[in-house]
């Protein structure tokens, strides 16, 4: 039995809270949702295996990012890709930490996003749902909506910009009220 088995509730609490942030980090390294999901599975197991090394007063997200970074580097090597320069990973890690400290975790982003999505028109929401939820290609969705691919891309870009701006405003508002 692992010596940290009795810390399972603590692990589950930390992992559940940081799950989306870890996924975002891995996606930022791969820019491939499918690969990010595969790596995430490996990272999840690794985090539990190594949880005995994690200090209770530490930053769980930062610790998880280190593990995810190692796994992603291995993934790059397996694919024969160039591994990133240490400066790149340091800059990325710092940017994630700054965002979390100043703006909040991904849970906060989701709360703001929920507020903003209900303000979208049905059509714009459908576009986002098909692109992000159903992973439709622009080509398929354009045919479905009887629009040009180019026109749909412009619309999707604008909708996403609008949602992004709304999320920023909402999060700023939440911070002011906190």
């Amino acid at each position: 039995m692992n010596e940290h088995t009795n810390r399972e509730p603590e692990f589950l609490r930390l992992f559940t809270g940081a799950r989306d942030d870890i996924m975002a980090y891995i996606y930022s390294l791969t820019l491939s949702h499918a690969d990010a999901e595969d790596i995430f599975q490996e990272v999840s197991l690794l985090l539990w295996e190594k949880f005995g090394d994690y200090r209770p007063d530490g930053n769980f997200r930062a610790w998880a990012r280190k593990m995810a970074w190692n796994k992603t580097q291995n993934w790059r090597r397996r694919k024969g890709e160039t591994v990133w320069d240490p400066d790149a990973i340091a800059a990325l890690g710092a940017a994630f930490e700054d965002e979390e400290r100043e703006r909040g975790t991904l849970t906060d982003v989701k709360a703001a996003l929920e507020h903003c999505l209900v303000r979208l028109s049905a059509v714009n929401r459908l576009i986002l749902q098909q692109l992000y939820g159903e992973s439709r290609s622009y080509k398929t969705l354009a045919r479905f909506l009887k629009r040009s691919v180019r026109g749909l891309k412009v619309t999707a870009h604008r909708v996403r910009e609008r949602v992004g701006d709304c999320v920023e405003r909402r999060m700023a508002q939440e911070r002011r009220q906190a």
Partner: protein, 323 residues
């Protein structure tokens, strides 16, 4: 950069370029991370939403058009028993799955089995069964219903003890009456719904046709898209309830893949209080749509966008015109 590649995986070269940019430009790293976090949140939420709705998948036949004179009944009961009588010439035949108690014992029912007087049905999730006369009965999750038959004649009595019930009666079949301790509701060849709440009141909402809502204090007739409420000791009164929203829970998850717009319009009419008016050219226009779980009015807006039509609305009537 995220926005330009988010629809498809990045290439090895793009990832290498990203690594160089992150290493050399901290400001870029910050913008990039902000973008990634939004992207991840958006994808997570939309995936969760999509899991609850039908997708754009082919190979599913469009739904059959229900007769315009068919009737639908929704009963929402919260702690108040509401009874419904149906003039049905036959027993009820189950075509969906319900957990049923007979004489207090669990009964395993299969499609084609008959329900008897006194059978009590529970729906763990939305359950549907078809009556032998072609009418359709749907129970919302958590609903409890007792089937009964009157001593004389073939009239079947349904007593909803808890939850919501949707009933669509085949054309030309018997009338419906719903009785509660506060009043009776009688369908006059119509599509309608009834709701009771914890305050011991009954609401009736009409899809199509007319409903007579009666209590000891009076009677009120309501028609398409209207609702009425009967509270204890009060006469029936008009209620501000949209039947199209009240019945949204019972709407089938439906996908039309390259089907004529006319078929979709017929489906909308059969599942709302709306009437669609369009010329034959528009009716023949081919569309593909997964009907989202949004109010039917918004579904109509999306369809109009897809086919490039404008819509003029007069009450519950939607007049389509090609732009």
């Amino acid at each position: 950069m995220t926005r330009s590649v988010s629809s498809q995986p990045a290439t090895a070269e793009e990832r290498a370029q990203l690594g160089r940019m992150l290493a050399n430009d901290p400001a870029f790293a910050r913008r990039y991370v902000r973008d990634i976090r939004l992207e991840t949140a958006l994808r997570g939420m939309m995936k969760s939403e999509a899991a609850h709705e039908a997708g754009l998948v082919p190979a599913r036949r469009g739904p059959a058009r229900w007769a315009m004179a068919a009737a639908a009944l929704l009963v929402l009961a919260a702690g108040v028993a509401v009874s419904l009588w149906l003039n049905a010439p036959h027993d009820i035949v189950l075509s969906g799955e319900l957990r049923v108690l007979r004489d207090g014992e669990p009964l395993r029912l299969a499609p084609g089995d008959r329900l008897r007087a006194g059978d009590e049905a529970f729906a763990g999730s939305i359950a549907s069964c078809r009556l032998r006369d072609g009418s359709q009965l749907k129970l919302d999750a958590g609903s409890r219903l007792v089937f009964d038959r009157r001593a004389r004649g073939e009239r079947v009595r349904l007593a909803l003890k808890e939850g919501r019930l949707f009933l669509r009666v085949a054309e030309g079949r018997g009338r419906f009456s719903i009785a509660s301790e506060h009043g009776d509701i009688e369908a006059l060849g119509t599509v309608f719904g009834v709701e009771t709440d914890g305050n011991a009141a009954v609401n009736a909402s009409v899809f199509q046709g007319q409903v007579a809502v009666r209590s000891q204090r009076g009677e009120l007739r309501i028609g398409n898209g209207q609702s009425a409420r009967v509270a204890a000791g009060r006469p029936p009164e008009p209620a501000d309830i949209d039947p199209n929203l009240a019945l949204l829970w019972a709407r089938e998850k439906t996908v039309f893949m390259e089907r004529p717009l006319g078929e979709v319009a017929d489906w909308i009419e059969a599942n709302s209080s709306f009437t669609m008016r369009m010329d034959s050219d528009l009716r023949r226009e081919t569309v593909s749509i997964a009907i989202p779980e949004i109010p039917m009015g918004e579904v109509v807006d999306i369809l109009a966008l897809i086919v490039g039509a404008s819509i003029e609305t007069t009450g519950a009537e939607f007049v389509w015109q090609r732009e």
